[in-house]
Symmetry: C2
Subunit: 411 residues, 2 copies
């Protein structure tokens, strides 16, 4: 019944209320890429920890340069050169300057750096400064970059190359991250054969095991392939119980034929402690989607058609994986969505959200979204689409030329 | 000298002319995610290979339904049911219909499917059809999805979950992909210490080895960490030669102090057959970038500051990696860029392209880009930025409130 279906927003609300990730694990920096921080990172020290020049030039006492101009330069005595990576072996006295390179440590007594452009060494011992500097000019103070005890990265941050750079700078070689959730992937259907088997007439190969496992990998989860199961109550139940024991979530795709449409639900209902949270979602494709839970383990029933299963993955399983991998915060901009012009009229049934695959191309400089139609169940359009266009349940259609937002595929 | 600097476009042109990837390797489907196809994929067979129902209902001869309406339904004899995954054991004769589920194989004699909504079984043997179907209606023909010999995926395609689905559907369990290029990563600088060492005053930890290696991994290359080298001609030369032997490209970051600024160039010039393609790029940050080549191996000299090196990575090394990983075609939409409103005036020197890190946030529903300034060399702003704003070399600045395009970080 249509009115019993949940909306996309209902499901996203349910996902938001699911248990987050439980366990954490420690990884080294070299293994931390794309992992999610299990706790806030607090700086154990100040950075850079010493006063550092941000320019090539001369370390000076600022007051010695006050009033210096091109016409009336200040003359300073060169006391020596600061070696990179070492504490200067002597300070500078009033009237002195020390050669320093970008990143070099300021000698005792110096409080500013005159850029090389405004300083000219007259001989080995004397430099002419043609511009005044204020105290701390061209200097990075000991705590300017990071203060000791500062919260540098919040829990739930996914570690990209930039965040790894911050951790490296702080010397945090080991970091606590969320354990990768394990997703058990099961394909069902009497007509499905493994990819390496030649299908007989009436049979097709298992696509969902591959696409859904790859989807998990892409989003930071660990797929656990539980293979193919025929449309039989006892077989599916046994395999599901196996998944519930070993995984944080079980994804069952298939069961689209008349007799087996409700097999997944029957199996779920037969398991003690299983709570069915949603049975049917008002989206197209993806209407037969099921969401259930036992303890901390979530079970998803997905459409059998590869294209439909991937749409549900983009719309619902992506947010679900972000929830259970502990990633915080929606990416602020609508990451990976673009505005485009619709190439033709689209009709849509009210009461459900249609997700239409579109291909993007440029036409006279404008980005055009071309809906890809065709009988559902085809696999070849899978790779042709660039993203999804949502026609929501309050809209009966869109006209050619309309400005639409296309959500680019995230995986 | 500024006029000798190359522009971003010059460098991208040079990258476009570099040798593409040479070797290919064969991987199984489970290892193929994010790999790049080394050749076109041509379908070895037609899909689905048999006539398949795209709906639940009854397989019929279309002509037996012609003229059928709700008021004057056609009465057909039920000849049996098509089992999923099997060839029907008998055909249908004129006036007959067979129960069929979505994905079932059409029996001999049937050429269309009446949806279950328009068919009502009166008893075990008789079904009433209340709507006419045309031949092939609700049927996926044997070649409707993929024709035998069809080019389904072009060379240079990066395999995402969707493309893996197409390969799985075709039974292509092994696929030829481009070998992952190996990138040797070297950090130089007398002041740099490894992450696990406590820096003495004047020293800082090695960030670039971590950020650049992670950047490689993210973009499908294989980083080969060659560690730290002090600013010494012979040591850098020896490490570079080591990299040239083992890698497809060598990335050297550092050498930012006065005395060592040109060390990388001097080392490159001392190597037989090395051709320097660019020495200095009119971008900020990133001006001291160097590009050289010996045979098929490309050498990049990068700024020492972590933030500057990552900007050069986003702008130049990303396209470079796409070139040598064999990925074809720019992603059609400006993947991962968003329009935003500038939060304040920006000044910019003409003659160079400034890449300014910005943080994005929402303000009264509008997306606002807030430039992150600060002394170069700081690491803490690394993780705060969401993307880069380009102020090109013909623009002297941008006003607060301007509509700008922010390129989101891709790695």
């Amino acid at each position: 019944m249509f009115f019993q279906l949940k909306t996309v927003e209902d499901i996203l609300d349910i996902i938001g209320g699911l248990d987050g990730p439980a366990d954490e694990t420690r990884v080294s920096l070299t293994d931390a890429l794309d992992r999610v921080l299990a706790g806030d990172v607090i700086s154990p020290e100040a950075l850079p920890g010493f006063a550092r020049s941000s320019m090539d030039g001369f370390a000076v006492r600022a007051r010695d340069t006050f009033g210096a101009t091109e016409g009336l330069p200040a003359l300073l005595e060169i006391s020596g050169e600061v070696a990179m990576g070492a504490e200067p072996d002597r300070g500078i006295a009033p009237g002195q300057a020390a050669r320093i390179a970008t990143g070099g440590m300021l000698p005792e007594g110096a409080d500013a750096v005159v850029m090389v452009e405004y300083s000219q060494a007259l001989d080995e011992r004397t430099v002419e400064v043609s511009r005044a500097v204020s105290p701390l000019e061209n200097v990075i103070g000991p705590e300017d970059d990071v203060r000791k005890g500062e919260h540098v990265l919040p829990r739930g941050t996914r570690l990209r190359p930039r965040e790894l750079g911050v951790l490296a700078g702080l010397g945090l070689d080991g970091v606590a991250v969320v354990r990768r959730p394990v997703i058990a992937v099961i394909s069902t259907g009497d007509e499905i054969v493994p990819v390496d088997r030649t299908p007989r007439p009436g049979q097709v190969r298992d696509i969902n095991s591959h696409t859904l496992s790859a989807f998990c990998t892409r989003l930071g989860a660990e797929p656990l392939g539980l293979g193919l199961v025929p449309d039989r109550f006892d077989r599916l139940r046994e395999r599901l119980l196996h998944g519930l024991e070993r995984a944080d979530s079980v994804w069952i795709s298939g069961g689209s034929s008349v007799g087996t449409r409700d097999l997944t639900v029957q199996v779920l209902e037969s398991i003690d402690g299983m709570e069915i949270l949603a049975h049917g979602v008002s989206i197209s494709p993806g209407k037969p989607t099921i969401l259930a839970r036992r303890g901390r383990c979530t079970v998803w029933g997905l459409p059998g058609h590869a294209a439909s299963a991937l749409v549900v993955a983009e719309i619902l399983l992506g947010p679900f994986l972000r929830r259970i991998t502990g990633e915080r915060g929606e990416p602020l901009p609508p990451h990976g969505s673009v505005e485009a012009e619709l190439s033709r009229n689209i009709e849509s049934a009210p009461g459900r959200d249609d997700f239409i695959r579109v291909r993007l191309h440029r036409k006279e400089g404008r980005l055009v979204a071309e809906p890809l139609f065709g009988k559902s169940g085809l696999i070849s359009p899978l790779a042709r689409a660039d993203g999804l266009l949502r026609v929501d349940r309050f809209t009966e259609g869109l006209y050619q030329g309309a400005r639409v937002t296309v959500r680019l595929f995230g995986a």
